[in-house]
Subunit: 293 residues, 2 copies
């Protein structure tokens, strides 16, 4: 197990506050300093006792840190990197928890000083809830935490991966572009689709909309859960992984048109064929140990 | 609470076997006769002790029934109605549990004798599992069970609704076309979308497909659950509610194109605007008491 003398977490939403909780509960550093741009969130963090110190400004938060975690929407990474850059100490490791990696590397790398080591990462974990009160110490347990090596020294990378493992996560290295492609299909596109269909229901005439809510069947209910995820975080994801998302969306649209045509022309065998194949994928995810139920 | 002297259930999948369980556990009839076209399913029903009698032919199953429940895929309704018609006793109430109501009324009504009372219905309840072993007695508890009056006598309808209430369901009457429209958006379209996106992932090149399964994030995992629902049941749903599904699909496609364009043109405000509105729908479903969590 690796630990750091001092860790700073910037951003105390679901991810940042969950990380703070597991760091404290497993004693993964000597001193945990927290910061959030929102004063109300900082007050909540104090009330919840999430860290050793809740700093009032970002410079103070990172000044003595050996590891800085930027747990903020990917659209905010560039500015935060610029803000913290002058205060970082020699040899500090910087990471982020963003769901897009190409954009974060592009935004953050130029801002950081040479004496900082940037190792981008992404915990594949989350719920539809946001804010410091929604975090919990076991959020990362048995979930993948992807690390993008990004040219860092092996020693730095191994220490960092050891720290992530200590949170309970399964740590894997991955190429940046490949990460963005995998996440586009497993996470970004499903969220886009869920947001769309719930929006479609929202725009129905009034009576029908009310009954959609009353008689909400299980398919739609699941979509509303996904579509209640943090709007700013997800706006930023689509703005920053647009290429991979648009590519997957095009494939999805082709496949949907095929089914649409099969419905219009009453070609039941085409539907049944696909519906049978998709069952198999579920089984394989279960076999990979990545189902909660 | 209304009950019937004798009830026959045709089709012992998730819905039929759950209904059998709740009928037995609450003693909602004197004699419960079960039938399934599949001999293996009948054997399982015997082993599970689901009814008083598991009949070997459908004529024998319905001959003395005061209520016949057709819990079968909607594409099988027409044939089963023809098969049971000659054996139905005077005044018997026939219902079905299909997810499309216009097609079932069209398929079943002409086949039934005048001395039978057809009251179509639809329990808005289910899981992704199928088969007699997947049913459970509380499946309908606090879920809506929609009744289409379909010109039946008030007395017959009230007795039937009283019986459905006794299963634990919340019973509501609804117009047939309206039902099919509401279900198209709350259930049928979400299933179609989930099947599509899981299919899209299935067709990815091999390495990527494996990693999609390994790193399956929460959005995609939910979709795979929906997309592991019974293929024949769902094929029939799309074949039999094609008009309403295609109408909703068109709206969905328009809305998705709007978001796709917003991503391509980096219009983050449009995305954030929608993502904020969709949160509200979730809250209203929760307020309506239709969330499990």
């Amino acid at each position: 197990m690796s630990r750091y003398p001092e860790i700073a977490i910037i951003g105390l939403g679901l991810i940042g506050s969950s990380l703070a909780r597991v760091i404290k509960s497993k004693s993964l550093c000597d001193r945990l300093v927290l910061f959030d741009a929102d004063v109300e969130v900082r007050e909540k963090a104090v009330a919840l006792g999430l860290g050793d110190v809740v700093a009032d400004d970002i410079a103070q938060a990172v000044a003595a840190a050996d590891l800085v975690v930027m747990a903020i929407p990917v659209g905010a990474m560039a500015n935060v990197a610029v803000e913290i850059a002058p205060y970082l100490k020699q040899g500090v490791v910087i990471t982020d928890t963003g769901s897009t990696k190409g954009s974060v590397i592009k935004d953050v790398s130029p801002a950081l000083p040479d004496h900082a080591v940037f190792i981008p990462s992404h915990p594949i974990a989350g719920t539809e809830y946001s804010g410091p009160e929604s975090g919990f110490a076991t959020l990362f347990k048995d979930r993948y935490w992807i690390v993008i090596p990004n040219g860092a020294d092996d020693a730095d990378t191994e220490t960092f991966k050891g720290f992530l493992s200590a949170t309970g996560a399964i740590v894997e290295s991955m190429d940046c572009d490949y990460h963005d492609k995998v996440l586009a299909i497993t996470s970004h596109l499903p969220h886009l689709i869920a947001y769309t269909i719930v929006g479609t229901a929202f725009d129905l005439e009034n009576d029908l909309q009310n009954d959609v809510i009353r008689f909400s069947a299980s398919g739609f209910r699941d979509f509303t859960r996904i579509a209640s995820s943090d709007p700013v975080m997800w706006r930023d994801v689509f703005m920053n992984n647009s290429e991979a998302v648009l590519e997957m969306l095009q494939r999805f649209n082709e496949d949907l048109s095929y089914l649409q045509r099969a419905i219009r022309w009453q070609e039941g065998d085409k539907l049944e064929g696909l519906f049978t194949r998709t069952r198999d994928i579920r089984k394989r995810i279960k076999d990979a140990g990545q189902l909660d139920d």
